[in-house]
Every structure is written in structure tokens, then in C-alpha cells.
């Protein structure tokens, strides 16, 4: 049965269905409905909803719950995610699974509450300190947002790497029909023998991102980076739309990805052979599939709600095989399909 839901609500319900039983937050627009939904529903499932005194407190509560082996999540929007970055680095260093939802708004600074994609660098290239990665998933519909939240819990547990779902204000606020995924039964959630569950009858577990001995710490990080290489091999996800005969390929993710779908349809109606490549995992980024397309398509136009952040990964993938122009909007301005189409016309067959 399909239910009309906001993206924020779909992500909250999906987290509960994925077995999330500890959710910590500090409110911020435009992800408020996610907080409200969790406050209303999570306690009914025997979970803990806690509005912390700050974002820093919330992410460290996530650390605690994750160390105890519970499926746990926090959510926020851009400035709030900045505050959580220290804690996210600690989660990565301690190999703790957790899910972080960022419903992006326009920055830098306090910016405003309109949709934007300016946190791509922060999500995919660090943000917190040190040598780490996050699994970063970028939904473009409420349905996909629900599915990717569930996937984020699974991948995070499987690899013991924190996962971020990178949405934006438009996706969070809009409503769409959602067919909710089936709840995961508790016995299907993987065991966590490393978790801090009380050491009675076994040797104590240690969860920490701290090691004063550089050689020992190097081994910890080498193992971590082996895991990252494994994720790069196994977990790259993307969507292609009308690419077969394309003369120009739009590259866009999240909300911009779906808007570009409409641009492809409009362009095709006018006889322009335009296709769309939509990365679903921003890390690991789909370099290889994009490179293959760049072998045969002469122009790859990246479109983002930013000054050009994913654009850098597109150019790394293409490595000069095709032209790589960019079109972006700043400050929370969302271009309409016609505005993007006129940008397409500047580059197609030029």
C-alpha cells in the first residue's frame, strides 16, 4: 500500500523498520519532521528518542549506543552536521556503525533553510579530521530515501563504517507516495560480538579510536582502509537514464538528479539526445561507469545546487575524455527544468 509521506517522515519510518532503537537529535529546519516522527513513533517500538542539549551531545550519544551494539541514528541539517563532525570522526576511528542523515540547506554559515547541495565535500571528503571515509548515499525520491536509510544501516553494520544519507530540504519537505519496505526482524540484524554488552563470562571488549603507538595505530588504519577498498569494489551504485544514444550526459544527484530527469524528457521532445547519470553512492563514487560513458559521449554537464563540488569527482572520472562543463545554483536557489534545458542547449552539439 502506498502512503503519501514527506521525505523526512519516510526516512524516520525506514529507520524504525531497519531496527533503529536509539535516536538522538537536536532540532533544525528543514529536517524537523524527522525529529517529530521519531518522537511520536520510536518509543512505541520500545526505542529511545532523546532530544539532546546540543548536536555535539547527540552525536556522542550515538557513539555510546553504537558501542553498546544498538542500531542508532542521528539527523540534522548542514550547520548541525558541522557540529557533529568531531563525533563522526570518532565513530569512524572506533569502527562504530551508525547512520547520520543530513537534510542539506544553503550555507556556508547560518545561510538559510532552502534546499542546497553544498555539503558534498564535507560528506565525501572528510569534514571531520583524520584518515577516514563515510559511506554516503544520496536519495532522489521519498521512496528511495526510505530504501537508502535501510541500506545505510545494513552497510554500516556489515563494514563497521558509519553511513550518511545525504538529502536536501526539498526532498525532506515534499510528499510522495511511498511503499514502505518490510521491517527487518530483530533476529536478522547481525550479531556484534565486539560490542560493549557487559564482559561477564568473556574477555572484555575495547571500543576506542585512541592509540599512542603510531605503529599499532597504523595497523588499525590499514585494516580500515582495506575495508574501504572492499566497499569501493562492492557497493558502488548509480542510475542511468536514456544514455544509449546520448550526445550530452547530465550528471546530477539527489533532488537535482530527479529534476534533470524531467530535463531529459523535455530535451528529447525537442529532438536533443540527452541522457542522465545519477550517482546514488557519492562515496564510493561511480568513477568507472562514468568513465565508460565518457568514452562515447562528448559532453558531460554536471548540475548541482552548489558551486561545483561533485563536479571534481566527475572530472576525476572523465580524465579529459569528454568536455565537462558545469551548471550550478547557489544560496538555496533551485533551477527549474527549463532553466537547465537552456543551459543544455549551450553545450549540445557545440
Amino acid at each position: 500500500m502506498k502512503i503519501l509521506m514527506r521525505g523526512n517522515e519516510a526516512m524516520a519510518e525506514a529507520a524504525i523498520r531497519a531496527g533503529c532503537r536509539c535516536y538522538f537529535c537536536y532540532p533544525i529546519t528543514p529536517q524537523g519532521e524527522l525529529v517529530e516522527y521519531m518522537a511520536r513513533h520510536l518509543p512505541r517500538h520500545g526505542g529511545v528518542f532523546l532530544q539532546a542539549e546540543s548536536e555535539v551531545a547527540a552525536i556522542n550519544m550515538v557513539y555510546g549506543a553504537a558501542a553498546a551494539g544498538v542500531r542508532t541514528m542521528t539527523s540534522s541539517s548542514s550547520p548541525g552536521i558541522s557540529l557533529k563532525m568531531e563525533g563522526i570522526s570518532y565513530l569512524a576511528g572506533a569502527r562504530l556503525p551508525a547512520v547520520i542523515v543530513n537534510v542539506m540547506r544553503a550555507g556556508p554559515g547560518l545561510g538559510n533553510i532552502a534546499p542546497a547541495q553544498g555539503d558534498y565535500f564535507q560528506a565525501t571528503k572528510g569534514g571531520g579530521h583524520g584518515d577516514y571515509r563515510l559511506i554516503v548515499l544520496a536519495p532522489s525520491t521519498a521512496q528511495e530515501a526510505a530504501e537508502l536509510v535501510m541500506l545505510a544501516f545494513d552497510l554500516s553494520d556489515r563494514y563497521r563504517v558509519p553511513a550518511m544519507v545525504l538529502a536536501d530540504g526539498m526532498l525532506g519537505q515534499m510528499m510522495e507516495p511511498v511503499e514502505l519496505p518490510e521491517p527487518i526482524p530483530p533476529e536478522k540484524i547481525p550479531e556484534k560480538p565486539w560490542a560493549l554488552t557487559g564482559a561477564k563470562g568473556r574477555s572484555p571488549n575495547v571500543v576506542s579510536s585512541f592509540d599512542l603507538d603510531p605503529y599499532r595505530f597504523r595497523e588499525v588504519l590499514r585494516a580500515l582502509w582495506q575495508t574501504y577498498r572492499e566497499i569501493e569494489r562492492n557497493e558502488v551504485r548509480w542510475e542511468e537514464y536514456q544514455v544509449e544514444d546520448a550526445e550530452l550526459l547530465l550528471v546530477a544527484y539527489g533532488t537535482m538528479g530527479r529534476i534533470c530527469r524531467t530535463v531529459v524528457r523535455k530535451a528529447r521532445k525537442e529532438g536533443l539526445r540527452v541522457g542522465l547519470f545519477r550517482p546514488i553512492t557519492l562515496w564510493p563514487f561511480p568513477y568507472e561507469p562514468l568513465r565508460k560513458l565518457a568514452e562515447k559521449i562528448p559532453v558531460l554537464l554536471t548540475v548541482e545546487l552548489s558551486a561545483g563540488q561533485m563536479w571534481e569527482d566527475v572530472r576525476l572520472a572523465v580524465e579529459g575524455r569528454a568536455k565537462t562543463p558545469f551548471y550550478g545554483e547557489l544560496g538555496g536557489v533551485v533551477p527549474t527544468p527549463d532553466e537547465i534545458l537552456s543551459e543544455v542547449k549551450k553545450h549540445v552539439r557545440d
Partner: protein, 178 residues
């Protein structure tokens, strides 16, 4: 088929609810839909609008360049959105509150005294349903019954069953206007 409807007016006029009822009715008739609200530090008396896209394939952009139907419940939103309406489209304009009656030769404007009709029905808050009823007629892709039952479900979910009958009357009155 993909068509966009914009509802616009003052905060407190039930703009977002009218759009949501339309989206829900379309979903229950098997269409793909999106409902996108303006959001921000909104308050009663400020401006509000929402965009509903109804399609028979998954909706790409939830924002539309040219809506096929515009429901303008006050003067500022009429002035703002009239230039964007698609050629051959329809504007349902609230003549109770719009003093400057501009027209466009390539667009049909239906002047609907939404507030007066709501007043006659004894429930000033149902002016939005007059606008929605007219929009459903102008769209021509959904039976009014589907919208009435979506309205019943929405009001039921809010514990406002008592208001169903008067809102049904308002939808019928609006539908007859367009």
C-alpha cells in the same frame, strides 16, 4: 501525461491542505504524484504555496515551470503566478480577495467568489475547497468523488469529521463554477 497545479494564497487559507488532498486523490486513482510546499518561517497571514504534479510515469521535477492550473486565493499570488500559467491552462481566481482583475488571452480565468461561497455555507474556512473543486473540474483527470473521499480521509486524520459535510458542499460548489 504530466501536469502541474499550483495553489497559492495567504498562510492560514488552507493552501497546503488543498494541495495535499488533490495529491492524495490522484495517488489513490493510481497516478504518480508529488506535493511540494513552500517552506520557511511561514506564519498566518504570510504567503504560502504548494505545487502538485500528477503524472502517469514517475515524477521527475517536483517544481514546474508552467502549471496547467493555478488556484490563486489572494491578490499577490494571482499577480505572481499568472504569468507562469501554461498556454491553454486555467486560473481559478478568488474574486472575493483579488481586486486587480488582470486577464491573459491565452489562459482561461475562472473568477470564483470563494470567501462569499464559504460564508454562505456557514464555514469561512472552507474557501480553499471551493478553489479545489474548481481546479478538479479544470484539470479533468480526476472524478470529484475521489477528491471528496481524499478530503474525508484528511479531515478524519485530523479529527475534524464534523467539517466533512460542509467541505463536500464547498467542493461541489467550486466544481460547478469551472
Amino acid at each position: 501525461m504530466e501536469t502541474g497545479v499550483i495553489f497559492a494564497g495567504f498562510g492560514g487559507q488552507g493552501i497546503l491542505l488543498a494541495g495535499k488532498i488533490l495529491a492524495r486523490a490522484a495517488m489513490e486513482k493510481g497516478f504518480e504524484v508529488t506535493w511540494l510546499p513552500s517552506y520557511g518561517p511561514e506564519m498566518r497571514g504570510g504567503t504560502a504555496n504548494c505545487t502538485v504534479v500528477i503524472a502517469d510515469e514517475p515524477v521527475g521535477s517536483p517544481i514546474v515551470d508552467s502549471p496547467y492550473v493555478l488556484v490563486a486565493m489572494n491578490g499577490p499570488s494571482f499577480a505572481r503566478f499568472l504569468p507562469r500559467v501554461a498556454r491553454g491552462g486555467t486560473v481559478i481566481a478568488n474574486s472575493s480577495l483579488i481586486s486587480e482583475r488582470k486577464e491573459r488571452p491565452d489562459v482561461r480565468v475562472v473568477w470564483a467568489p470563494m470567501n462569499e461561497i464559504a460564508q454562505e455555507l456557514g464555514e469561512p474556512r472552507c474557501a480553499n475547497m471551493v478553489g479545489l473543486g474548481a481546479a478538479v473540474k479544470a484539470l479533468g483527470i480526476l472524478p470529484l468523488e475521489a477528491v471528496i473521499s481524499a478530503m474525508e480521509e484528511e479531515l478524519g486524520a485530523r479529527g475534524r469529521e464534523k467539517l466533512v459535510e460542509v467541505n463536500r458542499q464547498a467542493l461541489l460548489r467550486g466544481y460547478a463554477l469551472a
